[in-house]
Amino acid sequence: MPPVEFADPSAVAAALDSAGYLPDGGLATAAFLAIRMGRPLFLEGDPGVGKTALAQALATITAARLVRLQCYEGIDASQALYDWDFPRQILHLRVAADGSDRDELEASLYDRRFLVARPILQALEHGPAVLLIDEIDRADDEFEAFLLEVLADNAVTVPELGTITAEIPPLVVITSNRTREVHDALKRRCLYHWVPHPDFAREVAIVRRRIPDAAAQLVDDVARAVGRLREANLVKPPGIAETIDWTQALHVLGAPRLDPETAEATLGAALKYREDLVRVQRELDALLGG
């Protein structure tokens, strides 16, 4: 359990707030229970709603270090858990080959010092840590299978060495963009939270927090425009990350508010598909009006 204790969800909310992350009630309760119960947190939601940022903020408030594991297809134990340092093992063998006892030499080959810790083992060995397993939906079933031991026992079993158990279990945050269904055996061990897009007021507050110097009018305008874009049936509706990027772009250009010229010039910060750009540019006035 991390050394930092919180009395209730609102204490977690306040701490996250001061770390620069504004949670809603659900997210605060989720973070509180994850810390208190030592359960992994499984976050799903559209891309760009702040799932990864939450893990960073949790690391800050629990005074833990963030260990991030980005998933991809074909990721396996040697990239996620541990690997043997083969060159060093061979060197060791060459140097020690003559004269020493064979059994002893064999045993010394699979010593902890020849084990390279990958992100999950790092998080288990050097706590307190927040272990972020990002975009688990990109990995495959085989990867989920070996995550189960880590999540259930906070341990990794190395056949040649034995089981390495965490002294301070890491706080695990798993994110998914839901490109496929993650196995229920994994989800069952986690607290499940769907991260929604923020409402207007919270989005404005988040952007103000991230870009404090931006003009208030500009932040309001962008948040309102993004809200409309999310309802416009786009190929890829903008997330909070895009709202922040867009505001940042306009702020760098020195725009006091969002008007058609600056909007058109910076739209690429919010929309990432050509079809969306073409459509929105055509209807730009309607988007900004009112």
Binding site: P9, G26, T29, E73, G74, L93, A97, D184, Y192
Partner: protein, 369 residues
């Protein structure tokens, strides 16, 4: 009262959730009861969130959870939860009514082959009568047809023994045994996986003579490859029926799927249905590198521009796009319906799908993809 005995209350609540199709199993219930010990059990918001975090498992569960929570805790908690936090309705729920006008056009019911598409939203469920022995045999035949031959793709994973890359780990292990001499090089070969198969079935009125057999085909496909096949139906709504079709028993699976489809024999809004599929599932990954089979007669009532756009989008995502048109096998067929003409440039293969023989060809195409 929740304060009296949270265990009893939560057990009953979890049972009510399960009855509504939410995955609130024993493990999750135990977690929920443990979690309640950490929050204020009289604070409605905290109880709401604690239950939702521990008992739900996917976005589809959330609207149902809200409904059951309201019914169960009304009167049990001192203060009802205020305005419910927004749930992702319309983002990832199983059903999304398609936008569009709902003016009704009378369809010619006598016509064996209806010749006009309707965008009227007629919601009706399908009552599947008991399967006859013949139909059971047919499903078994379809399973046999698909079983050994779902197309495969190379994955990024490797397995031992091959001629591809050097297996460093096994080679070095052998070296350590042999006193550091690289005597043999162990090699790897790529692992193959079944390619993802996505079936989009048009269940509108004009397709009703064929929808049954296509649904049976879909059941066979899901049975053969439960983790890599996805089935959706399109009419006036988009419905994901993969989960009901995973039931092993054909009768149960088809009944459950029939119950899940609310727009059986209604109108068609193919373009919007396809867009909903791509927005909610396809682009996120379901259609990527997949073989996508669309079964429809292509009678699109609305403007076919949207369908053309969405087909282009699908073609960019999918490995292969196969269109099954039941009329394709009939003499004098020409792809002239507005929807069909719009879709054709983006279709890799246009097949018939009205008989078992035609499905045989479809299975062949899927296997070769």
């Amino acid at each position: 009262m929740l304060s009296a005995d949270p265990v009893v209350t939560m057990t009953g609540f979890a049972r009510a959730l399960r009855a509504n199709g939410i995955a609130a199993d024993g493990t999750r219930l135990a977690t929920a009861i443990e979690a309640l010990g950490h929050v204020d059990p009289l604070d409605a918001q905290q109880v709401y969130w604690t239950g939702r975090l521990t008992l739900c498992g996917e976005p589809d569960d959330l609207p149902r959870y809200d409904a059951v929570f309201d019914a169960w805790f009304r009167g049990r908690l001192p203060a009802l939860p205020g305005p419910m936090p927004p749930t992702p309705a319309g983002q990832l729920v199983q059903l999304r009514p398609l936008a569009g006008d709902t003016d009704d056009t009378a369809r010619d019911e006598d016509d064996a082959l209806p010749t006009a598409a309707s965008d009227a939203e007629v919601l009706r469920h399908r009552d599947l009568a008991a399967l006859t022995d013949l139909e059971r045999d047919e499903i078994n035949a379809l399973i046999a047809l698909l079983a050994p031959r779902v197309g495969t793709r190379r994955t990024r994973r490797h397995r031992p023994r091959g001629r591809d890359r050097i297996d460093v780990s096994r080679t070095v292990r052998a070296m350590l045994r042999d006193g550091g001499e690289p005597a043999t090089l162990a090699r790897l070969r790529p692992r193959v996986k079944p390619r993802r198969l996505v079936l989009l079935l048009d269940v509108s009125g004009s397709m009703s003579p064929y929808a049954d057999v296509l649904l049976r085909f879909a059941h066979a496909a899901v049975r053969v490859a439960p983790s890599s096949a996805e089935v959706f139906t399109v009419g006036t709504r988009l419905t994901r029926v993969t989960r009901p079709l995973r039931l092993r028993d054909a009768q149960q699976a088809l009944t459950a799927a029939g119950r899940a489809i609310p727009d059986w024999s209604g109108g068609t809004r193919l373009g919007e249905g396809l867009q909903a599929f791509l927005d909610l599932w396809g682009q996120r990954g379901t259609a990527r590198r997949a073989v996508v089979v669309i079964a429809s007669d292509g009678w699109e009532r609305g403007d076919a521009t949207l369908l053309a756009e969405q087909m282009a989008r699908l073609a960019r995502l999918a490995h292969r796009v196969v269109w099954v048109n039941p009329h394709r096998g009939k003499t004098g067929f020409a792809p002239v319906t507005a929807g069909m003409a719009a879709a054709l440039p983006h279709v890799d293969e246009l097949l018939a799908g009205h008989t078992l023989d035609a499905l045989h060809t479809l299975a062949d195409v899927i296997a070769r993809a």
